[in-house]
Subunit: 243 residues, 2 copies
DNA sequence: CGGCGCATTGATCTGAATCAAGACCCGTGG
DNA sequence: CCACGGGTCTTGATTCAGATCAATGCGCCG
């Protein structure tokens, strides 16, 4: 993973060599491989460390007592989970691998130290966390107001932007490891309906999805179909004033 | 407002007199009155300051280009919005008053200073922000997986807990300023269906709702009906280890 | 070869949306 | 003092997007 996190943070605001170095030291931690479909942190657990997705896709998810499951966010390489989570005694959601992934376990102290050492880096990490929250709001909007067709189009568009932001791929073709069941859990639909909706999206030429690869022939049309507005990702920032 | 924010922060972890004093100084700012149904911050605006709800209820909301509207979070007295928002150049959601409210406008610098002066306070504010994010995840789950009946029950239960946490009322009877249209926007339902669902909840004896007052005869039954688990509010924390 | 996870298809059902009208309440201006 | 209008709540009739139920196919792996 060619420093997807750094790439993402620098998309918010420039960092200097010193900042980069501080970050590299902090995230240079043992990497664990997690098999596809395995949870690597569970609701109810005491938070032990932060997680940085190094490779592959993961999901934040919650489950109701009767088994209904909702994915409340997706995580790709460069995504750092659980900043500040050491402040609580119990996790309120789980983290699970979608395909086989590599995760670095970052001690809370390491990131804390890095944020003390580099205020510019601290700002970038805070901004990243802010975008996570904003994304959660957007998902609420997505599920609450958009039709099935729009929801799925929106999700594809979001991930296209996020892939590009992390420098992982061009935004028009990339790995898509989610099964239709995952997609259903992420959008609040049933797998059967996801299947039919995907077919519609294909028929309309908005996506080409096969063998876990997604191709977006015309991102702009897809965005329109999903009423997607990238403002919540805060892709372009004025250079923040010094503290 | 008898220091609802302080009350809430202390529900997470104890503060000392010094911390309290630092917070009081920071939030002692001009208070603005906002008329019911008026936005006091709009999507697209440049963030100018933080907002502390002093009295009344407000909503975070987002609107699609075609007018569909989603409330992505509710705000009551003691809720502080937009920590870290100075890091972005444009708001991604609006804040609107539900009934007539009083809001204090807190300069970003004032809170920044307070967090520097009192690390214990800083931790409490970070924890508060974490709970906001966790609540957003819970809303995604709520709208994505629960039935209309469960969704509304869940929302009532959540607000009951939040009222109590801020020391605003007992959790079994309090002001309920949302109209059925608001409730629809918060739950991703139509007003007509909200109306019928409320009647069902009333018939089942789970709520008494009239004249903008809500009475919950049996919070435990309501919680069950909404599959409500308060873990995401992180009501009880071990005392966090010192930094 | 057997089984299992995943994608697909068809038939049917239903929770919630939509459309349409009243009823009620309250503030406001003539 | 009353007529008016707009917001809110309620009710009924109808429609529909998406859920549910049920099979089938298929590729992969042990």
């Amino acid at each position: 993973m060619s420093d997807a996190l750094l790439r993402k943070l620098e998309s918010f605001a420039p960092l200097f060599d010193g900042d980069r170095q501080v970050l590299r030291v902090a995230i240079d931690q043992p990497v664990r491989t997690v098999a596809a479909r395995r949870d690597f942190a569970r609701e109810g657990d005491a938070p032990r460390s932060m997680h940085l997705i190094v490779e592959g896709w993961a999901a934040r998810h919650k489950t109701l007592s009767d088994g209904r499951r909702q994915i409340v966010g997706l995580l790709v390489a460069g995504d750092l989970c659980d900043l500040d989570l050491q402040l609580v005694s119990e996790r309120d959601h789980s983290l699970g691998a979608i395909n086989e992934i590599k995760v670095a376990e970052i001690p809370f102290g390491a990131i804390g130290q890095a944020m003390m050492d580099s205020p510019r880096l601290a700002r970038a990490l805070r901004l990243d966390a802010l975008v996570v929250t904003a994304t959660s709001h957007e998902w609420t909007l997505n599920i609450g107001q958009r039709s099935a067709y729009e929801r799925i189009a929106h999700l594809f568009a979001e991930m296209a932007y996020r892939q590009r932001r992390a420098g992982l791929s061009s935004s028009d073709r990339f790995e898509w490891p989610l099964t239709q069941v995952d997609l259903a859990d992420a959008t609040g639909l049933t797998p059967v309906h996801v299947n039919r909706t995907l077919q519609q999206l294909r028929r309309d030429g908005l996506i080409v999805l096969a063998n876990k690869r997604l191709v977006i022939p015309d991102l702009d049309r897809l965005r329109q179909a999903g009423l997607f507005n990238s403002n919540y990702l805060h892709l372009e920032q004025r250079v923040a004033a010094a503290v």
